[in-house]
């Protein structure tokens, strides 16, 4: 009886509050734009050759900020990996995994996730998305493989933490080079349109924005996958290491 009273009161509160919000509260929509928004809307495509003003702000107008942010995330993941490192390399074992049914469904889902993540990353200069969301989505695919197929399958296929950290280092070096290259010609650091071409054979590539997206995609995907690999090491191994 008590449960029913609680449930009915929750239902009543929900309905009442939704009615109150829809009838009483005025949801105000701004009718005018600020000058800064007007500038971005009018000039993004001219300044950066990118129709997506969020990507343009993140990687062009505020590009230096994002490059440093990437550096902070790089250091955070390096710190995490340093804590979880164990002597004698990654432990290997027999792959066990889940049932046939879940494996087959995971194959389809992983393929879908990989496709969608690539689309998010490589269209980042045209549509909402970009390198970071795309890379995180690709890392989800490997995180799905670890419980369903076991981490040993990944290791057998050659996706080891050493290789992932190497890919991450390569991608971040590339990112730094893309940011630094304009300095050679006497331009500012993280310059886009004055140095990189906005169009390639008539296709919009938005100069350095698509390069940043591609490299950030690689860096984030490999970094998060490496973290997932290390988190799948059983606790007993670390305890044994402390005892030694």
């Amino acid at each position: 009886m008590k449960r029913v009273i609680i449930l009915i009161s929750i239902l009543a509160v929900t309905l009442l509050s939704s009615l109150v919000i829809s009838f009483v509260a005025e949801i105000t929509v701004p009718r005018s734009l600020r000058d800064l928004s007007k500038y971005y809307i009018a000039n993004t495509i001219i300044d950066t050759a990118s129709p997506e003003s969020v990507a343009a702000i993140v990687w062009d107008y505020r590009g230096l900020d994002t490059v440093y942010e990437t550096l902070v995330l790089y250091l955070a993941i390096v710190g995490g990996l340093a804590i979880f490192t164990i002597k004698g390399g990654f432990p290997r074992g027999e792959p066990m995994g889940l049932t046939e049914l879940s494996r087959n469904a995971t194959k389809i889902i992983v393929l879908l996730i990989a496709t969608v993540s690539a689309a998010i990353a490589f269209h980042g200069h045209l549509t909402p998305g970009g390198g970071f969301p795309g890379g995180s989505a690709l890392a989800v695919a490997t995180m799905l493989i670890i419980p369903v197929y076991s981490v040993n399958i990944l290791l057998e296929k050659g996706i080891t933490s050493t290789k992932l950290v190497a890919i991450r280092g390569f991608a971040l070096t590339g990112l730094g080079l893309v940011a630094l290259l304009p300095v050679v010609k006497g331009l500012e650091i993280v310059t886009n349109q004055k140095f990189y071409p906005g169009f390639l054979n008539g296709v919009v590539i938005s100069g350095s924005i698509s390069l940043y997206n591609l490299l950030e995609f690689l860096a984030v995907a490999s970094g998060f996958t490496a973290v997932a690999l290390y988190l799948s090491i059983p606790e007993e191994l670390y305890k044994g290491e402390v005892r030694d």
Binding site: L98, T99, L101, S102, A105, T106, I108, I109, L112
Partner: protein, 119 residues
């Protein structure tokens, strides 16, 4: 004509999905143990989510004045297909894990799984 037919079929599927959701919710409360409740939850996920999504895609196709109706229809149809693949696997894995870890009481009338595993 064809638009109206699509719209009403879509609306019917949409409302049918709501009915199945209600049934699933009643089942979640009334059913006696974990496995049967899982069955009710999966009904909510398949008939209560996949059917309305297909209904939405048909309804979107049935409204010619809706801007971007093909995008709405395609996105909801693809979401329905993905749910159709994912949701049964989710409940399968949940039931498998609960059975293997013996974390819920197991008192079957007929145990076909045990016979399968004996072979």
């Amino acid at each position: 004509m064809i638009e109206a037919v699509l719209f009403w079929i879509g609306a019917f599927l949409f409302i049918l999905g709501g009915v199945f959701d209600l049934l699933a919710a009643i089942g979640m409360i009334r059913f006696p143990n974990f496995y049967v409740r899982l069955h009710a939850a999966t009904i909510g996920a398949i008939y209560g989510a996949v059917l309305p999504l297909i209904g939405i895609s048909l309804m979107a196709l049935g409204i010619p004045e809706l801007p971007g109706r093909y995008a709405v229809a395609g996105a909801s149809f693809i979401t329905a297909i993905i749910l159709l693949v994912v949701a049964p696997v989710g409940s399968h894995v949940l039931a498998y894990a609960a059975h293997k870890s013996k974390s819920v009481p197991w008192s079957p009338v007929v145990d076909a799984l045990e016979k399968d595993e004996e072979k």
